[in-house]
Structure formats: C-alpha cells, structure tokens
C-alpha cells in the first residue's frame, strides 16, 4: 500500500496552506524558458513539469539573499539595539529537486558549527521540504557523480514520485512530512518508479588524489581563464553560503544586514592593507573547488556539492564545477 497525491488534490491543498497563512514556495515559470523557485501567491503558479530543474535553488527559504540581523539607533551618546524579528510563519517548499534538498544538511553543518545561527535555524525549523523525484536530466546534471540520484531523500521531508501524468506517490520521510500530508493523500497501490540518473562523469577518488597534491597545478589558471568573476554560479548554487555583513543606515541609525557574497568576486578576500591573497581568477576558482570537495568534507564529512548543475547552466562563460572537474578527474 502506498500513499497517493492525486493531481486534482494538489491545487486545493496549496490554496488551503496559503489561506492558513503559511508561506509556500515552488517552481514557477517566469518566462517561456525560465523556471525559478519563488514564493507562491496562488496555487496556479506552481509548475511541476516541463523542465529539468529551476535555475535557482531553495536555499533562499532558509538563507535569504538579504536578511536583517538587528537595528540600531543613536540616542544621544547611547546606541540602542533593536533585535530583528525572527520569522514565525511556517514555510513549505513543494517540488524541490533532490539535489536542492540534499544541500540543506550541508548548510545545517555550517550554520551550527562554531555558533548556532538563530536566523538560519529558525527558518530551518519552520521549513518542510517536499521533493519531487526527477523526470529528466540534462548534460549539466551530475548528482550521481557525487553520490546522489534522482530519487535521493537527503534533506527531504517527503518525496513525490510521479506514477502517471497527474498523480504522485508520496513517501513521507519525517514527522514534518507526515504532518503535512495527513489527510491529503489517499491509499493506493500505485508505486512510482524513480528513473536512472545520469552516468557518472568523474571519479571522486581520483579527484581527491588530485586535490591532495594539485594545489599549485597550472591547470587552475588555464581552467579559470574564461571566468568573468561574477556570482552567477555561487548565487544559484544550493550549497554556497558565503555572506557579507553590512550596516545600512544614516546619521540617526540603521540596520545591520546579511547579504549573499561570493568567492568569485575580485574583492572577496581583499584586505584593508591592500593585499589580496586570492588576487586572480585562477586562485578564486581553485578555492571554490577545494572548498566543495576537500575543505568542507574534511570538516563535516560530506561534499559541499549536490551535482545540480546550476553553476554551469547559469555561467555566461560555460564554466562551473563539472567542466573543471572533468578536466581534472575524468572517469576512465
């Protein structure tokens, strides 16, 4: 016996969630050839098929691109701090890809290792992630090369698998998932089948061996020659999480905010002295690969890449993790 989410039940269910004051995010067709995760204002906006994956990631729901940390006001010689209001609304992501959900455990590690990030953790508590097993992959997908796949359950609270054009088998994976789908699904004997993922594109062991000794390899400079130094890869990546803290205000006070930042920007590691330890794009691209495939794994025991391919899809110069890794550590 399995649980079935019928195609006709989806829209009313989402409308109920919205009416209950919950925030719902999912893939939306922005233009003819652009699908992005966004907050829904109505169930009709949700797009569940006709594309490989959205061009951005779901990290925005737990790690927004702009977030207020606290306010400050100058009162004479005193400074009054005004704590930011932490969000209270429940958040549900519907139709995330497994490669998006698998990033969340990776972010959990970073946002809790030396300090408990109350902003991230609050949002994470409030979020339920419903993933949709992939129905297609393209040349940029490489989830299988990093130990994931089209039906992987890491980071997910419930997995939807299409059983036909309209209906989905629901596999609730956590209490959050079970609570969300209570009374929404019906019993059925239909079982969805998860497709085979893309062929493995590179060898992780070979990659590890290269990284262990390849820090000074000139291949990094050559690989990065066409990199333009924007943040299209980092900002659309499900696992990239660097941020910048800035004060925005005036003579009477302001807010301290956290914004996304990216290691590919030329000023990312610029020191006040004028020295820049990563002064050229080869060093910066190298850093990104090392962070994802050596530094983070050494510390947290998992890769910081889920093989979603957004970096390459969004890169104006066709770079991204996979092209670089295939040059360094192709499969035999």
């Amino acid at each position: 016996m399995s649980e079935l989410l019928s195609g006709t039940a989806i829209r009313p269910w989402i409308e109920r969630l919205l009416a209950d004051g919950k925030r719902v995010a999912g893939p939306q067709r922005v233009h003819e050839d652009l699908v992005q995760y966004a907050w829904l204002t109505s169930a009709d906006q949700l797009a569940l098929d006709g594309f490989v994956r959205p061009s951005n990631s779901i990290k925005e729901v737990v790690f927004p691109r702009h977030e207020q940390l606290y306010g400050y006001q100058f009162k004479g010689k005193r400074i009054e701090l005004l704590p930011a209001e932490l969000p209270t609304k429940e958040q549900i992501v519907i139709g995330a890809r497994p490669c998006d959900a698998a990033a969340l455990p990776a972010l959990d590690g970073v946002f809790n290792w030396d300090t408990q990030d109350e902003f991230y953790n609050r949002r994470r508590e409030l979020t339920t992630v419903v993933t949709l097993a992939c129905g297609a992959y393209d040349a940029h997908c490489f989830c299988t090369s990093v130990g994931l796949g089209p039906g992987d359950v890491r980071g997910s609270d419930a997995l939807l698998i299409a059983v036909d054009d309209e209906n989905y088998e629901v596999r609730c994976l956590t209490d959050k998932g079970r609570r969300l789908f209570a009374g929404v699904t019906t019993e059925s004997s239909a079982v969805g089948r998860v497709m085979e993922g893309p062929p493995v594109q590179f060898d992780l062991d070979k990659l590890g061996a290269f990284l262990a000794g390849g820090y000074d390899n000139p291949a990094w400079q050559a690989a990065a020659m066409r990199c333009l130094g924007c943040a299209a890869c980092a900002y659309t990546c499900p696992t990239c999480h660097c941020f910048d803290i800035v004060d925005e205000g005036g003579p009477s006070g302001g807010t301290r905010v956290r914004n996304w930042d990216a290691c590919q920007f030329s000023m990312f590691t610029a020191h006040a002295s004028g020295h820049n330890p990563r002064g050229n794009q080869g060093q910066r691209q190298r850093q990104r690969i090392y962070h994802k495939f050596q530094i983070y794994p050494e510390k947290f025991g998992a890769l910081l890449c889920t093989g979603c391919g957004n970096c390459t899809r969004n890169c104006p110069a066709g770079l991204g993790v996979l092209p670089i890794l295939k040059t360094i550590a192709p499969t035999p």
């Binding site: 333009l228 924007c230 080869g282 066709g318």
Partner: protein, 282 residues
C-alpha cells in the same frame, strides 16, 4: 568558414604574429560554445564558428591573465567589434597591438536574438582579417525597427511599467553577471563596491536593485554597443536590454550617435554642445 578561421589561427600563431588567439570553442559537456584561448597552432582545431557563438570576447582583452599571454588576435562579430572601437576610444586597448579577426555573421541564437533582427554590421568593420561572408552584407543603417522594443514598452501605462520593473528587478540577486560580462564595465573598483561612503545599496532588495540597474545603465550611456551580453548572462532572466535601448535611443535621437560605429565621433557623455536642447529646463 570554420576551416578558414582555423587556418588563419594556425598561421598567426606559427609565424609569431600573435601569441594567443581569443576565439570560440566547443564546451566538452554539451553544445554550448565557450571562449577559448589558443596559444599553440596545433590547438587551432578547437576553434568553432556557429550561431551559438554568443560571447563578446572583447571583455577578455581587459583581463590581466590574458594580457600576460602576449600579443593577441581576437575573433569578433560585428556587434563585438563595436565594443573594440569604444575601448579604443577610451584608451583601454592598444589597437595597433591587436589583430582583429572579423567573423561575418548572420545572427546568433535559435531563434535569432533580438539584437540580430536590426543588425547592420553583419560584416564586422575595421577588421584586420575578415573571415566568411554574411548573406545579408551590411544593410544600410536606418533607425527603423532598431528601437521597436523600447518604443512598444513605453506605450504601456506608467502603472504597467512600474509593475513590470518591480516584478523583474525583484528577481535580481546582485550577482553582477551583467557587469562582469560587459566589456565597457572595466572600473578597477565599481561604484557599487565603494563603501566609504556607501553610494549604492549592495543588498538585493528592490531599493538596491533599482539603484544598481539605474547606475549600471547610466554609466553605459552612449557607450553600450547593444551586444546584449548582459541580458544573456543574467541568471534571473531580466530584460536588461530594454534599459540599454532607452539610452541608445536617446543617444541617436538627440545626437545621431551610436556607440562604436564611427571612429571619428566624439563620445557623447564627455562632450557638450551649445545647441543641446533644454526645453525641459525651466
């Protein structure tokens, strides 16, 4: 044409005219075309020419890592060549040290990109070597249709236009792909990175996004050549082309000026005339 291009590249490298040829190559993974930097004659076969050669390679002439490779030859389409001209006028490149390989182009993209619909530089001008022949030649330069998109846009009501930009710019994440891909954005420190004081909010809020896009567009007034790389690069699918078109239209209507077309024309933003009209000034 591709074979002619490869032979040209081989020749230029073998006889030492240049140390690097900046051109288009096939990405390994799929059918995307990416910038390549050929330094050895035997690698010339990496060069391709097809209707997916989108990138404006002029940007790479400003990269120190590329400059370090030595004297360069660069492959340009007609639109890209206009960028070279602006860079030369602004003293950012030394044209005499550069070998320009002009690629005759019938347009890129499937369907053709918007910029190609009104292109009048199918055959790049002022190239040292021209490869191929564009089927359309260079049609006479008329303003007909060139600004159709912005003209249609301006017919919308103010409320529609404001709603449109609010929706579009709400997706901007400040990745600066638009800035990084533009050959004309070459400031060592962009104004948006200035923080003593902060001039433009770096946050990806509507306020910060409006401020950034206004700044970016206006710093390109009279300099943007319409290569549309910014629009292509934007991961959020924002139609940045419209902003650039509004300024290009103002430049042509007021000063008969199009960036990168006439080597003898003075840039409009650094110049002025006693005849500049001022009916909007009280």
């Amino acid at each position: 044409m591709q074979e002619e291009l490869r032979q040209t590249c081989r020749r230029l490298l073998t006889d030492g005219t240049v140390q690097v040829v900046i051109g288009y190559g096939q990405a390994a993974a799929d059918d995307r075309v990416v910038p390549v930097f050929i330094t050895r004659p035997e690698d010339a076969d990496q060069l391709v020419w097809n209707d997916r050669c989108f990138a404006n390679l002029a940007k790479y002439l400003l990269r120190k890592e590329v400059a370090a490779l030595g004297r360069a030859a660069i492959c340009v389409k007609g639109c890209d060549q206009r960028a070279l001209l602006v860079l030369e006028q602004e003293s950012q490149i030394d044209r005499s040290q550069l070998t320009v390989i002009g690629l005759a182009c019938d347009g890129v993209g499937e369907p053709r990109q918007a910029k190609c619909q009104s292109c009048d530089v199918h055959t790049p001008r002022q190239a040292d070597i021209t490869v191929g022949q564009a089927s359309a030649g260079n049609p006479p330069a008329t303003a007909d249709g060139r600004y159709a998109e912005i003209e249609a846009f301006l017919k919308k009501t103010p409320a529609e236009r404001m709603a449109y930009w609010k929706a579009e710019l709400s997706r901007c994440v400040k990745c600066y792909a638009c800035r990084q891909v533009c050959p004309m954005c070459y400031c060592r420190q962009c104004i948006v990175d200035k923080n003593r004081p902060v001039v433009i909010s770096t946050s990806a809020t509507l306020k910060g996004n409006f401020a950034w896009q206004i700044t970016r567009a206006f710093h390109l007034a009279g300099r943007c050549v319409g290569c549309d790389e910014c629009t292509r690069a934007c991961p959020a699918g924002i139609d940045l082309r419209l902003l650039n078109l509004s300024l290009a239209k103002a430049a042509e209507e007021n000063f008969s000026f199009r960036a990168g077309m006439d080597p003898a024309a003075d840039p409009i933003i650094g110049a002025y005339s006693q005849q500049d009209h001022e009916e909007f000034i009280r």
